[in-house]
Point group: C2
Chain length 138, copies 2
Amino acid sequence: MEQRVSLVTLGVADLAAARRFYEALGWRSSSPPEIGVVFFQAGSMVLALWSREELAKDSGVADSGGWGGMALAHNVRSPAEVDAVIAEARAAGATIAREGAPTSWGGYSGAFVDPDGHPWEVAHNPGWTLAADGAVVL
Amino acid sequence: MEQRVSLVTLGVADLAAARRFYEALGWRSSSPPEIGVVFFQAGSMVLALWSREELAKDSGVADSGGWGGMALAHNVRSPAEVDAVIAEARAAGATIAREGAPTSWGGYSGAFVDPDGHPWEVAHNPGWTLAADGAVVL
């Protein structure tokens, strides 16, 4: 198995509403509504939105109905950018879990939870390199 | 917010055991055990393993204890590669949710669930381009 992730799929309750949330953050997808799934190109991988019920079936898991131990992060180039993304998320209707603040690991981060309960940390990590296209290099 | 994911963090019960599972799939990390988190470079992003309890706190969510509506996928270049990765996952101790089989969307896929309940689809999608480095281009 190569050391890479091709797709992260977020199970959602209302596909059109979930798409509007990510569009409000500035994301764009060319997926037509009738296919029932929304694919966003996200760097070298794809972030997808799909019916949570279908995703559970397809993944062979029982749905416990809450959070299940996975989180996403979006790294940016400065503390000010963290605050800007948290503000965008608030405006788009996210729940703000943590306002931007210095972290124990020497960076700066905040966190929001999307309308379907999927958490995103927004972080500036001065120890990680962000390439021009946003790729993270350890 | 730029259209990209920097990090996917999987909450785990036993960090050393979770690391051994991904190492058994061929993944390698240079994170020293004492930092309490394992970072795998995964294409242009990072896949991390971290205490599920810490991740819930950090993300501002309550832990429902099961699956929470997120799934990963690993796309490969042929149906035979799907079967090979499913066999590797089985040997590493994963639960096989679906053996490799043709899909309704014209591809071929199987699925496994890692020891902490995180599902991975392993897929060959003839409609998606995989670059030499594994990047997915819609």
